[in-house]
Each structure stands twice: as C-alpha cells, then as structure tokens.
Amino acid sequence: MPEALTLAAATMLSVLFTCVAWVWGANRMLDLIWPATGRRAGRNSARAGLIRPWLFLGPALVFMGLYLVWPVLRTGWLALHDATGARFVGLENLRWLASDARLYEALGNSLAWLLVVPAVSTALGLIAAVLTDGLRWGVLARAVLFMPMAISFVGAAVIWKFIYAFTPEPAPEIGLLNALVTAAGGAPQAWLTRAFVNDLALMVVVIWMQTGFAMVILSAALRAVPEETLEAARLDGAGPWTIFTRIQVPQIRGTLAVVWTAITIMVLKLFDIVFVMTNGQWGTQVLANLIYDWMFRGSPDAGRGAAVALVLMALVTPLMIWNIRAALREERA
C-alpha cells in the first residue's frame, strides 16, 4: 500500500507538473521566437496568437486523441480483422453478425429499453418535479428521489436483487416483491429468470436511478418558466391541468428533449446492471453486455466484439450528431 500511495502522488504531481510546464514553457518559447516588440511586433504577435491556443489545448487533445479518438478508429479497424487482429478478413465479421441470433436478441432488448426507460424516467421526473415544486418538504423529497444518482449500478443491483429475491416455499419470502405477491395470495416467482418479466425488472432499476436526474433538470427548467405566463393563463381562467399541458410543458420542450436524449444515450451504453444482475441470461442480453462477452469472456474474439461495438456506435451516432448540431448552433450565437 505505501508504494501504491507514493505512485499515486508521484503520478498526480508529474502529470500536473508536465502539463503546467508544457503550457508555461511553450508560451515562453513563443514569446522568445516572436517577441511582440520591435519593428515586427505586429506580425510577430499575430503569429504567436495563431499558435498560443493550441498550446493550451495540447494536453487535452493528446489525452482525448489517445484515449478516445484513436481507440474508436482502431476498433473500426479491428472489426475488419480476425479474433486476434492478425488477419484481415474484410466484412467477414459483419456478415457473421448479420446472421447471429444473439445480436438480434440484444438489439430487440436494447430497442425495448430505448422505448420504455427514457419515456418513463422523463415522465416520472416531470411528475416529481411538478409535484415537489413549492412543497414545504419538497427539497427533502427531491433529495430522496435524486439519491440513487450517487449509487453505483452494482450497488443498485444488490438493492434490487434483494427486492426480487426468491425463496422456494415453504420458507418465508424475504424479497419484498414476493412477500407482497404471497400476501396477496399469489405464488412467489423467480422474477429474474422469467423471460420478459426480467427485462421489466431490470428496467425498473434503471428508471429508479434515472428519475432523479430527469427531475432535477426539469424542475430547474420549470422554475425558469416566467411566472407571468402562468398568471396570465390563470387570469384567463385556465385550470392547473391546462396550465401544465398548455403553458409549462411547451416552454420546457427543449429541456425535455435534452433529458430524453441523455437518458437514451445512457440506456444505449447500459452495461453494469445487466452484467451484474443476469449477465444477459434468460433473454436479457443487451448490446453493451454482448460486446463485453465477445471481447473478454470465454474465448474472446476482438474482431466480432468490435463488430458488435460498431453496431452500438451506429445507434449512438444520430444522437451524437444532434448534440453536435446543438453545440455548433450555440457556438455561432
């Protein structure tokens, strides 16, 4: 442990130091090469000004290039190669993929997740935001709903696996869900092993975790809706429901879209919950877990893993473009 601590401190200090030294030193170099004095001051400082931003961007670009851009491109390359990346196989992996039943299972599940989780989380978040707004104990309520945000997927998996726990009769059910079912006269179930039901059970966990996120953002957006528009509507005789649907919701449409896409992206990349709770068995496979399986489980096949990863990337791309366009629009304004 002590060596590890030293390593941690040394790494932190050396990366920070390198970064500062680089920006400082390079700035000094610029000022020495093109001093902003003398006859050529104008041209020199214009030149230095062209380069200076890149000095500041440098370390971040190196990190992002090396840890995000290059590996993604490299994965594209891997998808065209065999299991070890040694032999070029062209579109072989993609062809295999097109006929792989497990891919379709994962795609189907991912699609179901996409339809259910963002919609329900956003709707619940909106309801929670409206209900808690202005409530005297609203802050407390919001903190409780927001809390799962701090919990890891693995932690949430333990929490909910306990809810879904199943003990064969006659022992008493200690899982809350089965206890309720037996109390209502039903027969206890092994929820996580029943196809379709288990998908819903997993979705509930993610909805439980994401609702707070939606609520926090939507409640800020609701509060930004000008009070006068609500008062004007009230004077026009509109009831709370009309005000909500006709005045408030239209004004926060942009935020609703942002929340929706954020949760959609999160759901597309969802891995931990499925990995930990069912590991994709009993018909719960999703794309991200399938990729992990091919990349690291059993007899790994980097080529096929990369091919499935490309499918995931293709699904994320439209949202990515949507994000980029929003950012560029802002940049221009």
Binding site: A36, T37, A41, G42, R43, S45, A46, G49, R332
Partner: protein, 358 residues
C-alpha cells in the same frame, strides 16, 4: 504625444458589418466623447482601439505608430468597461494593484500608486473590501482607479456612468471633469448615450449612427449646426421639432410653404431645391407664442410643467416655454421662432447654410 488616428476602419462580425468607414483623428490630450443610440457600435469601436477585437479593415495609429496587430498590453491603453469588470475575487486594493503587479512594479511603488489613486477617488475606506460589498458609485470609481494607477497614455471609458442613479451620475460627471483637468496630457475617449454628459465633458463629440460617423464637432457646433436630421434630433432635449414644408423658391432667399403660412428666410439654399418636400427644424426652446400666423398652429394637447419651464405639446410639436404655463392647456396657440434658429433638411441632410458661429 498620443494622438489616435483611425483611417477608414471597418469591423464585421461574421457577415454583419458593425462599423464602416470610420475616419477619426483624436488629438493628444483631447477628451473625445462618442454618443449614439444603443447598438450603434460604440463599445465595438473602443474594443478595436484597445485591441480586444481584430480590425477587419483600415488602419489604426496610436502615437504615430500603426497598431493594428500590436497586442493590447503594448498599446498603453486603459479601459473602463460598461459593467466595470472588477475582479470579483480580489479586494479593491488588489484590483487596483493587479496591472502594476503584472508589470513587475515594486511593492512600495504599487502601494504609493494605489494610495494616491484611492485618495483621488475617495476610496481610502474601501481598500480592503471586495467588489460585491461596494455600491455602484464605488465600483465605478474602483474601475477608474484601476485605470489611472497604470498611468496609461490613453483612457477609454465605456459608459461608465450609465448604471448610476441621476444624482450620483451628476457627481461622477464632475469627478471625471476634474480627473481630466488633472491629467490634461492624457487622451481620453468617453462613450455615453447621455447627452448632458457629452455636452459638458467633451472637447469634441462624435455622433455614431448605424456604425458610421454622422458628425464630429465641438458640443455647441453639433447643437447649433447639425448636419443631419439624425444629429439634430439626437442632440438636444426634447428633440428638435420637424415641420413638413414645401420649398417654393430656393437660392439666396428661401421661401417655404407651411401648413400655416408661407415664410421667407434670408439664408441661401441650393437653387435646385425648388419644389422639394423638406423638413423645417426648430428646437422646442426656440419656439414662442406669437400673434402672427407663426410656424405651427393648433390646440394644446398636454402641458408638462417642470417648474422652471413648461413643455407644451400641440399636434406632435413640442415647445419649451419659461415658467409655469398650465393656463395654455386646451387653448389654440400659434408658435413662431427666430429665423436664425431654423434648420432645413432635405432627405435627412441639412440644406440651408447656418449662420456663422458667434
């Protein structure tokens, strides 16, 4: 030795041209005031001079040297920003000392400079306070103090008084006038849209409209001899009245037909103006009730009594009469003016030569 010369300066943001064809020479030690309606490019012009925005085209010279590409730090310019831009995390002393500390000035000299500026601006009690604990007027003075400790050759003031209430603004106006008197060798460019500020402070005024210079001149010049309708209405309050008229005869003597009467003016206009539709300009303070046909006639709609003067409104025309004249309310009135105070505008430009300035 720090004149500022702008030659045919233009500035575009993306595709939109914000400033165009700006030619201006500011003499060393002059206090030039730039006025103009909101969005006309005043701040942008200051930012170009300070080097905070690149100049799209044209040439900028400060102290005889081309400055287009010289970095801001080497232009010897201090700027007081419209929103003060105090460093929120530094107290007043640190705010004022920052530039000197950057320049590597010794601790003692910084202390002296800051103390002197604080005394000058009456800020000695606030030196250890943070900007958020200062009143608007104090913040404004800190912003000025931050500029003067640097002893720059050129001061740029961007509407420094616009966020203050009327009383404080009057006091600070005086403050700036005093400052200017004390630093008479420094060149100052002061932006405002308060014309009182402009008239009282300026050596010369530049009226900016839509990114172009409408007129440059001494304050009374602009008041008495506006070259355009825009300047005529922009300088002076309430704004100059414009009365539609038709030119019957032009040349050495000008004859005009008004709604009320025909009048002759013994001041020359271009001969080809005959038959043109023009606007006769007359300032409210130059109108007085008359027995004759007058320039305008009508029922008085509203009388605004301000105490020393009353503003009389009739049919879109405003007259400023001395004393309290509420007795005029509802009456039919004819107003006339001294021909020497009349202006004539054709297509927005002044077309009648003015009397020589007294």
């Amino acid at each position: 030795m720090t004149s500022i010369i702008l030659e045919n300066i233009a500035k575009s943001f993306g595709g939109t041209r914000v400033l165009d064809g700006i030619d201006l020479a500011v003499a060393s030690g002059e206090l030039l005031v730039i006025v103009g309606p909101s969005g006309c490019g005043k701040t942008t012009l200051l930012r170009l001079i300070a080097g905070l925005e690149p100049i799209t085209s044209g040439r900028l010279m400060i102290g005889g040297q081309v400055m287009n590409d010289i970095p801001h730090a080497r232009r010897g310019i201090a700027m007081v920003f419209q929103n003060y831009a105090l460093y929120p995390h530094m107290n007043v002393r640190e705010n004022m000392a920052f530039a000197l500390r950057v320049a590597g000035v010794g601790r003692d000299r910084i202390e002296t400079a800051v103390t002197r500026a604080a005394r000058l601006l009456d800020l000695e009690d606030c030196l250890d306070r943070f900007p958020r604990a200062l009143s608007g007027g104090q913040r404004q003075r800190v912003a000025i103090g931050r500029a003067i400790v640097r002893e720059p050759a050129v001061f740029l003031f961007d509407e420094p008084l616009s966020n203050l209430d009327a009383g404080l603004r009057g006091a600070m106006r005086l403050e700036i006038a005093r400052l200017k008197a004390r630093l008479s060798d420094r060149t100052m460019i002061h932006v405002t849209h308060d014309q009182l500020e402009a008239m009282t402070l300026a050596d010369r005024i530049v009226v900016l409209a839509g990114g172009r210079i409408a007129q440059v001149g001494r304050p009374l010049d602009l008041y008495e001899r506006p070259e355009t309708e825009f300047v005529a209405r922009f300088i002076g309050s309430p704004a100059m009245n414009l009365i539609p008229a038709t030119v019957i005869a032009a040349g050495a003597v000008t004859r005009l037909r008004l709604a009320t009467a025909e009048i002759s003016l013994a001041r020359p206009t271009p001969p080809d103006l005959a038959g043109a539709e023009v606007n006769l300009g007359v300032r409210p303070e130059h109108l007085f009730p008359s027995g004759g046909p007058g320039l305008v006639a009508g029922r008085v709609d509203v009388v605004e009594a301000l105490g020393e003067v009353s503003l009389i409104h009739l049919g879109g025309i405003t007259a400023k009469l001395a004393g309290t004249r509420q007795d005029l309310g509802g009456q039919t009135l004819r107003l006339s003016a001294d021909p020497a105070h009349l202006h004539l505008f054709h297509r927005g430009r002044s077309v009648m030569s003015h009397l020589p300035l007294g």
